[in-house]
């Protein structure tokens, strides 16, 4: 039995475990790392099953090219030449900005870095983005404005020191289970727990106060709490005076958010708003934890601003056990952002519109670089549907299931002149591709991944890839070479050396230094120990900024024809579009069927019984799935996870976008339900 230490491929918590393999090189199991600071010998069910999909027979093992309408086996040379020739031809004919590159929060930092380099330096476009657009783009936009950095301010160890955890829009025990368990442990040792979530999630059962505000009413709730804090005199005046700016304009905006007004919008009692304000503000050290319930709205950035304002108002920043803690979803979504797989920044959030930054990268890469910022992925899909984007390269993403409004995504993918997909399984998106390139999965390659607490750590190779599959970085290098760019990296460590040289926050990071428990960025030089807590004496942007916001209603609310509010998200046992977890025996067995959570009152009114197949329709589409009758959702709301292709939640969701972050409103749209 061989044991290879590596980083979990699922959520952003960043647990480490050993992949165990037998003499034939087959993976036989997982053992948590006993001494790792996040893992501590513990994993969630997905971590314990992370070996299970790796040698699934469905793995892509040979390159494929579409001939006569069908994907057929090809050799690497042919397939790579075709990808390059097609992308280049489209760029020449219609301009580089008619191309779009989608990178992946599942692949390593090194691979994300190379793909944004390929898009920018190789094909001359800033049209590169990845699924952070769908999860925490609102955080990056909002927190960069208020604090100067879009990452989690504190560390996971802070849960051991905090007095109160305020969880809003995060089903932590299911989506970041090993963070959820820390919250439960904090509660056991006496910390207070405030939960704001319309669903009765597990944490709600343990909460000192559980607020079930209407989906999409968070700005009103948070503004009401902040107004109350000011009225009670519970704000941190020294912190506001010394560390913040724009307080007066912000405070003025709060005036109208009386408990009664807020109650009207949120569906809560006025007293609950007051109680929540006092509970939060009376703690000396309080952590706010949030996720998709905050970000995935057409006013996601405003939600994030309101959260940041609340932490600033009470001085909960720059100290242990406090902070603004967005939980990043994918194992490397933090890293994919850090590496510049975004349309407006290079690695380390250096702006493409800044001539200095552009000069630095163009000197290092030896070519001219485009000036205008590129398309966000959500806009690119719209542009593909109208024919403005014509060629796309998708690395390890599955927009057919993950993006809002599946009908439009399908139209977009069908309309493309050329689509190349690099993936490990034949996904719903790969079915539209002209070329499909087989990739190594996490267990079959080396590379670094950055967890939600900004911890950069190594993933290590424990198995051989199937058939002819290659690592993503090797595939991208082949395309870099065809573009005439440097492509002779011997290994990911060499790529990291280039990243460190160009990226101040990763300046001191090298694979050698990442042995052990990794490093938390910013880590600007070779002797820097890393940074567990951000914004200690000053914020990344200097003074923290209060950012006044007003409540805006969601784009589409229930009405007579579509009387239910549809909330979407994930379940505990599956991961995103299910390509890995639905091929992992125990996880698949636990949750086999697409389902919709519906409140017992609603179910009885509609004469729907448990496990019955029902039809759910919105303005955009219609699906069928099983009814799961449960108190977890409030009456008037239904919840569908987006994992299942046969009952795809995103056939229903609304692609109304936040005007600043471009995130779709996954958490609110209107649907109708009928028994089938």
């Amino acid at each position: 039995m061989t044991a290879t230490l590596t980083t979990c491929p699922y959520c952003g918590t960043g647990c480490n475990f050993y992949l165990l393999s037998d003499d034939d090189g087959r993976l036989t199991g997982v053992e948590p790392a006993g001494q790792h600071p996040t893992t501590r010998g513990q994993l969630c069910v997905k971590g314990w099953n992370a070996h299970a999909f790796v040698d699934h027979p469905d793995r892509l093992a040979v390159p494929q090219i579409r001939r006569d309408g069908e994907l057929q086996s090809a050799d690497w040379q042919q397939a790579l030449d075709l990808v390059h020739d097609q992308l280049q031809a489209i760029a020449e004919k219609h301009g580089p900005d008619s191309l779009m590159f989608l990178s992946s929060a599942k692949v390593s930092n090194e691979e994300n870095y190379l793909l944004q380099k390929l898009a920018r330096a190789g094909y001359g476009t800033n049209n590169i983005d990845h699924c952070a657009r769908l999860c925490h783009s609102s955080t990056v936009t909002g927190l960069v404005e208020t604090l100067g950095s879009g990452a989690m301010t504190n560390s996971l160890s802070c849960f051991d020191e905090t007095e109160l955890v305020f969880v809003i829009g995060s089903n932590t025990t299911e989506q970041h289970p090993l963070i959820g368990s820390r919250i439960l442990q904090a509660k056991q040792r006496g910390a207070k727990l405030l939960v704001a979530d319309s669903r009765k999630i597990r944490l709600a059962k343990h909460a000192d106060l559980h607020l079930r505000q209407q989906n999409g009413s968070d700005v009103a709730l948070l503004s009401g709490m902040m107004r109350q804090i000011l009225r009670d005199g519970l704000e941190d005046r020294d912190f506001i005076a010394q560390r913040c700016e724009n307080f007066a304009a912000f405070a003025e905006k709060l005036e109208s958010y009386t408990p009664e007004y807020v109650a009207g919008i949120t569906g809560l009692e006025p007293e609950q708003v007051i109680a929540a304000a006092r509970l939060y503000a009376e703690a000396d050290r309080a952590m706010i934890v949030y996720a998709m319930g905050i970000t995935q709205h057409s006013h996601g950035v405003d939600n994030v601003r309101a959260i940041s304002n609340l932490a600033l108002l009470t001085g909960n920043l720059g100290k242990p056990g406090s902070g603004v803690n967005p939980l990043r979803g994918q194992n490397n979504v933090q890293g994919a952002c850090d590496m510049g797989a975004l349309p407006d920044v290079y690695s380390g959030y250096q702006n493409v519109a800044d001539p200095e930054a552009r000069k630095k990268f163009s000197t290092a890469w030896g070519c001219e670089l485009p000036e205008t910022k590129g398309l966000m992925s959500t806009h690119a899909i719209e542009a593909a549907a109208t024919g403005e984007v014509r060629g796309m390269l998708i690395l390890g993403e599955n927009p057919m299931l993950s993006d809002a409004n599946q009908g439009m995504v399908k139209k977009a993918l069908e309309r493309l002149d050329f689509l190349a997909v690099i993936d490990i399984f034949p996904t719903e998106t790969a079915a539209f591709a002209d070329v499909v390139l087989p990739a190594s999965c996490y267990a079959e390659k080396d590379g670094s991944f950055t967890s939600t607490e900004r911890r950069v750590q190594l993933g290590r190779k424990a198995a051989e890839p199937p058939g002819l599959a290659r690592t993503d970085w090797q595939i991208i290098c082949e395309l870099l070479q065809r573009c005439g760019l440097k492509s002779d990296y011997q290994n990911p460590a060499e790529i990291m050396a280039e990243i460190a040289a160009l990226t101040p926050s990763y300046g001191g990071i090298s694979h050698d230094r990442l042995q052990g428990h990794g490093l938390q960025w910013p880590c600007p030089d070779k002797t820097h120990p890393g940074t567990p807590i951000l914004h200690i004496d000053r914020c990344t942007r200097g003074k923290a900024r209060f950012s006044p916001v007003d409540y805006r209603a969601p784009h589409e609310l229930p009405d007579r024809d579509f009387p239910f509010l549809l909330n979407t998200g994930r379940s505990y046992f599956h991961w995103h579009t299910g390509s890995m977890t639905r091929r992992s025996h125990l996880l698949d067995r636990e949750e086999r069927f697409a389902f919709v959570e519906i409140n017992p009152d609603d179910a009885s009114q509609l004469a729907i019984f448990a496990r019955q197949q029902v039809r759910i329709s919105s303005l955009r589409g219609s699906i069928t799935c099983r009814a799961l009758v449960s108190e977890k959702v409030p009456a008037g709301q239904v919840f569908i996870p987006f994992h299942f292709t046969e009952g795809a939640a995103n056939a229903l969701t609304n692609n109304a976008l936040d005007p600043e972050s471009g995130i779709p409103e996954f958490k609110v749209c209107a649907v109708r339900i009928e028994p089938c």
């Binding site: 061989t2 997982v30 948590p32």
Partner: protein, 325 residues
């Protein structure tokens, strides 16, 4: 007869074992923990804390190919191992766990896959002052072929089987004649009395449903408590078809999962988290007592260490005794 071994002797013994057996010894892993791995494939770590990965996983791995069915219907068994297994460096609880699994898998009809690995295998205990920072580990006794007991200045060798005796034959006799002369084991470890007290409470039906609900609310369904438990033996069967060939494997299962007992209709006799949590404890402390005459927990402590929310066996047992004892 006890034998006396110096460190060089012990290393010589390992060399001999490695020639005849697929020798698995405690290795130091990069994060500082220890687990069994093939001799020579990593840094030997003879003494130290409990092995992270349960050693029983070498006899009953997390995922294991059982057989393949070819498109023509013929069946292939996985190729047998070249050498029998020797597990070196087991402490008392590890050996008690293997004895527990032996009884389960080898009772009629015997599980041939397990039997294939266990037959001709060799178990070597490592006890005495061999724990973390030379902590004392009580001798294991006859659950192994031979035992090496760390003393202040060397090792005492004690053979319990013919194979063990042959292996120890080349080494000189020790001055101590009886193992009991150096056995400092307390009459009964505290853990045993806690388990017995909890078992009694359950058998006397003194623990109400509300208790299980409260514990279950804290369970995040990681399945870790089952997977790390060296006496948990539940598995499920997985079939995969690869190029027309069906590969049948077994994988560790967990009674904390809803689908563990769910029927095809959707009905589930263990359909709530509270029932499943109760079962996890009840099985070890009551069902095993009824079936085998002894408690099914060998008090290794692994489930308490791996439970992310602090409701492993001993945490639950202590809460149960505090509340109802």
């Amino acid at each position: 007869m006890l034998k006396s071994l110096k460190r060089e002797d012990l290393l010589r013994l390992l060399e001999t074992l490695a020639e005849q057996y697929d020798l698995q010894v405690p290795l130091k892993l990069p994060d500082g923990t220890r687990q069994l791995g093939r001799y020579g494939s990593g840094e030997l770590s003879l003494c130290g804390p409990l092995l992270q990965r349960k050693p029983t996983s070498l006899l009953f791995p997390q995922a294991e190919l059982l057989l393949s069915i070819n498109p023509d219907g013929s069946v292939e068994q996985p190729h047998p191992a070249e050498k029998p297994l020797a597990l070196f460096g087991l402490e008392r609880s590890d050996l008690a766990a293997i004895a527990f699994l032996d009884r389960f898998f080898l009772c009629e009809p015997a599980d041939d896959i397990y039997q294939g690995k266990r037959e001709n295998s060799l178990l070597i205990g490592l006890t005495g002052f061999a724990g973390e920072n030379s902590a004392y580990l009580p001798p294991a006794g006859e659950n192994c072929d031979l035992e090496l007991i760390a003393t202040a200045d060397g090792w005492l060798g004690c053979a319990y089987s013919a194979a063990g005796k042959t292996l120890l034959a080349p080494f000189p006799d020790s001055e101590a004649k009886e193992r009991t002369e150096i056995d400092q084991r307390a009459a009964e470890p505290k853990t045993d009395s806690l388990l017995k007290a909890a078992s009694r409470l359950l058998r006397e039906d003194k623990v109400p449903d509300a208790f299980w609900q409260e514990i279950a609310d804290r369970c995040i369904l990681c399945t870790g408590c089952n997977l790390v438990c060296p006496t948990c033996s539940c598995f499920c069967v997985q079939d995969r078809i690869r190029d027309g060939k069906t590969e049948r494997s077994r994988v560790w299962d967990s009674c904390q999962l809803d689908a563990f007992m769910r029927e095809a209709s959707g009905h589930n006799p263990l359909g709530t988290e509270a029932l499943r949590t109760r079962r996890r404890i009840h099985h070890k402390l009551v069902a095993d007592v009824e079936r085998w005459g002894e408690i099914g927990c060998i008090a290794c402590g692994r489930c308490d260490r791996t439970c992310p929310t602090g409701i492993g066996m001993f945490a639950v047992v202590e809460e149960m005794i505090n509340q109802f004892g």
